[in-house]
């Protein structure tokens, strides 16, 4: 123990000798970061507070950081607003099924491309890389979707972006760097086929990366409005984000879908307040899950930063 402290005498004195300038800098840094954190938090707190406030307080602009005339009525009204729940249901479907398709396609693509001995690997990697820097764009994609009769079907929410090349590269890099190649070699000598090696070794050892890319895909499904906006115009297939666009951006509340007339009448005066409620209801799931799974997201960013 004494040896240890003697081994690094400088570090200790160095810390003690932190100059006044450096100490000031510490406080300035803490001040800046605190300020930025507050700037992030304030609008979010304001939105949440407004969602719990009475509509008269919201309309009069009396809500800042705490709910005014706290009430749960706004949330009760939204419970009756069918579009939101239809959107929720569709989005959950697109997210769950879509993410499953994404992960399967990504892993069966990443695994062969991670094998150094796989011939054609270079050509195929380039094949997947080119679309990242050059693509057909909106109109040719639309015509393709139309010709394949995908428009206005459930597939429109699942097929576009089924493989994200960035995620695929992240998965490939992970397999390459964390599963030793000697293991593949040994398995092959023991007569294990590439497919069996994939299912009994690669997949179980890739649990982390599967978690990472599933979360990336799930978030992008949950938040996506662009593909649905282009390829779906049947309301029964709308994901949540398209209904949100109607309500939040275009200010269209459809009072005819309210289940009881009393609520429909209330809706008019509540419109501004309900927007806050809808922001909370649609975003809450991700916000609540995030702090617990943060480390996976960060890990994904870090693997992705290793040159692909």
């Amino acid at each position: 123990m004494t040896n240890m402290t003697n081994a690094f005498p400088r570090r200790k004195t160095g810390a003690h000798r932190a100059s006044r300038g450096d100490r000031t800098f510490q406080w300035v840094a803490i001040g800046i970061v605190s300020l930025l954190t507050l700037l992030i938090l304030l609008p979010m707190i304001n939105v949440v507070s407004a969602s719990f406030s009475s509509s008269s307080a919201v309309n009069a602009g009396r809500v800042l950081l705490l709910p005014v005339d706290a009430t749960l009525n706004n949330y009760m009204t939204i419970l009756n607003y069918k579009s939101v729940w239809l959107g929720y249901r569709n989005t959950v479907f697109y997210t769950v099924v879509g993410t499953f398709i994404n992960v399967v396609l990504t892993m069966i693509c990443a695994y062969p491309l991670a094998q150094k001995s796989f011939s054609g690997r270079k050509f195929l990697s380039i094949l997947f890389f080119i679309p990242l820097i050059f693509n057909g764009g909106m109109i040719p994609n639309y015509i393709l979707m139309r010709d394949l009769k995908i428009i206005n079907t459930l597939w429109a929410g699942l097929i576009p972006g089924a493989i994200n090349v960035f995620n695929m590269i992240v998965a490939r890099t992970f397999i390459q760097t964390s599963i030793p190649e000697t293991m593949a070699e040994a398995a092959r000598i023991d007569g294990c086929s590439p497919a069996r090696y994939f299912f009994s070794f690669v997949l179980p050892l890739s649990k982390t990366i599967i978690a990472v890319i599933s979360m990336y895909y799930a978030v992008s499904h949950w938040n996506d409005y662009f593909t649905a906006f282009l390829y779906i115009n049947k309301r029964s297939l709308y994901p949540l984000q398209l209904f949100l666009r109607e309500i939040l951006v275009n200010s269209q509340f459809d009072s005819s879908v309210m289940s009881d007339p009393e609520a429909a009448r209330q809706l008019q005066g509540l419109a501004e307040t309900l927007k806050y409620v809808i922001i909370v209801v649609s975003t809450l799931p991700l916000m609540c899950i995030y702090p617990f799974v943060q480390k996976y997201f960060v890990k994904g960013v870090m693997i992705g930063s290793v040159k692909g």
């Binding site: 300038g21 840094a29 693509c109 050059f134 590439p194 960060v298």
Partner: protein, 307 residues
Amino acid sequence: MKAKRIRVAWKRDWQLYLFMLLPVAYIVIFAYVPMAGLQLAFRKYTAQGGIWGSPWIGLDNLIKFVNSYQFERVVSNTFILSFYGLTCMQVIPICFALIINAIEKPRFKKVTQTIVNLPHFISIVVLVGMLMQVFNSRTGIYGVLYEHFTGQYPTDLFGKLGAFRHLYIWSTVWQNFGWQSIIYIAALAGVDTEQHEAAQIDGASRVQRIWHVDLPHIQPTIMILLIMGIGRIMSVGFEKAYLMQNSLNLKHSELISTYVYRIGLSGIGRTDFSYATAIGLFNALINLVLILGANVLSRRLTETSLF
């Protein structure tokens, strides 16, 4: 000889090729077929002819676009918005990472980082919705505070032409600066502590160490992200710009991508697939030149490149 090698590779790896079958089919159909579809830019689209059979008209569509009165507007709007955004989204996350990295309180760092990452998970629709609520001149926090200090309500920011770009960029900064900084913070964790100690002994202050030790260490990361940022310049958000568009800010908010949509798909006015495709092609080509150029430049200057 070659045939034999192929046979050996096939015999050993046929299962791997089978794995690749579905992903390759997917990428060919959904990425390469639309690329072939770009030929529509040089044809006059007819419903019977489609992409492969409509009559050729050469460069007419591209020439028409370059000569149209919208050309200058949408191209300059796209470039201005992109460069404004690129500058902010490169500089601010780097500064934030350097500052938070210098703080010696692990708990504080962890909590603040979690908070600043949160907005990344807000969808664009909700973000624009929040923006509209927060900046509402009567009920929003902006309007309320403005009224509190000046005694009168502010003019509606969404109706102000000059406000569009700032609202667009700074809401993006608000949403993503924390997320963008993760990669730099991760890179900074790899700085050798001995370098810091050596610099300290030589009398370097913390600020000097950030400049001479931390910053050079993350320079390759900065270059890679810069190239990727430049590669995205022309694809600057259809999604957000379209949501924020209204008749009052159209002069600044009409970008190449939103214009393509207006011409080709919106159903407002006469729909012209060929013309819209030509504009899209113009966009894609500039994008390609920019990313290849940035890559070459970076390789020359810093020996770091994406490919």
